[in-house]
Subunit: 324 residues, 2 copies
Amino acid sequence: MRVAVVGAAGMIGRKLIAQLLGAGALAGHEIEAVHAFDVVTPTAQRGAVSVTATAIDITTMAGANAVLATDPDVIYHLAAVVSGEAEADFAKGYRVNVDGTRTLLEACRAATEAGASPPRMVFTSSIAVFGGQLPDVIGDDHHLSPQTSYGTQKVIGEQLVQDYTRRGFVDGVSVRLPTICIRPGAPNKAASGFYSSILREPLQGQPAVIPVAADLRHTFASPRAAVSSLVRAATLNSAAIGSTRSLTLPGLSATISEQLAALERVAGADVAALVRREPDPAIEAIVEGWPRALAAERAIALGFEAESSFDEIIAVFQEDELGH
Amino acid sequence: MRVAVVGAAGMIGRKLIAQLLGAGALAGHEIEAVHAFDVVTPTAQRGAVSVTATAIDITTMAGANAVLATDPDVIYHLAAVVSGEAEADFAKGYRVNVDGTRTLLEACRAATEAGASPPRMVFTSSIAVFGGQLPDVIGDDHHLSPQTSYGTQKVIGEQLVQDYTRRGFVDGVSVRLPTICIRPGAPNKAASGFYSSILREPLQGQPAVIPVAADLRHTFASPRAAVSSLVRAATLNSAAIGSTRSLTLPGLSATISEQLAALERVAGADVAALVRREPDPAIEAIVEGWPRALAAERAIALGFEAESSFDEIIAVFQEDELGH
């Protein structure tokens, strides 16, 4: 089993590779090699198997062909310009998120047309594909109506994965990840960044600001749950997935108040007191249209899981990032 | 009012230009010029206003910039590789239907970033965006699940039009046309071609073959109704359209039997007897998943119309093509 990870330098990419190296197997097969790709050379991780780390430009055929040259059984396509940056830099968002995905799929087409078996491709989509007037709980067949360039680009990526799969050029699965929380490290340019910082900063003794209303509801999964989902997505039997290759993953639906109550339960009132409200109308306008809860019935039936409380999500952060 | 028509050499493009030249006005403004573009030089039509005809490659920035160089108030983007050909030639379908649309939108972005007002773009999408398990009547918010490369490419085009409109680079409207019937002239490479030929051929004394079951239901509009819809789409007030820029247009829902009954009523039993059934499993497999009826509530509220009987659709063909 050879695994290629495109977007390996990002937070999820690094955690995924660590998980793969730790497990040593994927989908019941021993992992023979993990090939890590990103626009910057990913940090090489050590393990019992061969690991390479290569800088590529995924928007070029040379970059995409370098991925296929490793003869991967599974390709994780995690590379993306995130929401805030895709909105700020229109051309870059389309270049990386649309052209990059298309180029990688074209490389898969060339490989399969030359006789290779279609590799499993796991494409990380997002709940940003949903927007506009949303129901309290979004069903699996809810229509896609993104309100951002990032969401639009993810819809296009899903459509490409679907059609290239139908044509036999790849064996793709698009997983719509809920908002990942608690992200470790420095904030990225995603508009959802505050959802992590209002917990991450206080847990490390720093103040944090809540830019939105306390009753705002949204849907979450920990980085650990996201990585488990990516592993599961590579493991799924093609027939079990069926012809619809996009899956909305389950998430924990919670309000800001519920996040803070969990913070106080887990870390105490002094820590929770480090958070103060300071409404930011610009951020409120962006996030008020975001999904509040996801039915995710197909994904749950296929064995995908998220946390069931924010206490758990905080505990994952403490265990995986703070060494508790 | 300057109008650019991209895909002007096709059947709908030619009829649209004839209509515009005949009316002399669009959206209440006198038409000053009509600029016709296609991959082959469109036939220049005569009228009271300036008409140009230019061959371009819409997949190149030079081609798209040639359209914008005419400083259009309205751009009709009708250029497409049709369903059968997009399935047979995967790369060509993506090149024309996806890259061509993106390139044209990029030229609009460059023009608006240089200070031009965003032109109204009318993009012809298709009911091929719908597929899989469909309800008897498809609502405006039904999820898009194309089952062909053509349908996938139309979804992607709609998403691009939506996002470029949201960003102010164009003032776009995507109209999902029902199957056009009765198409004049020779069959094109669309899988829906038989729906026209089973009426067109007998009305001109020729035999025809029905490759599908008599109770198969589908949804139709005449070329004249399609052109009226394209005129209306250019006329719509941006605020009236709202933020969702894709519209499912109304169609006449009818079975093969109803088509043939209308043929017999309008043209007599001898003409209807020229049609014989000869099931083609390949065509049946493609069309059995097609929409049976469309609610089209938003489009109807905005004034779009289709015929209300197949007798009317046949009469339109007789008037517009046979000179009755």
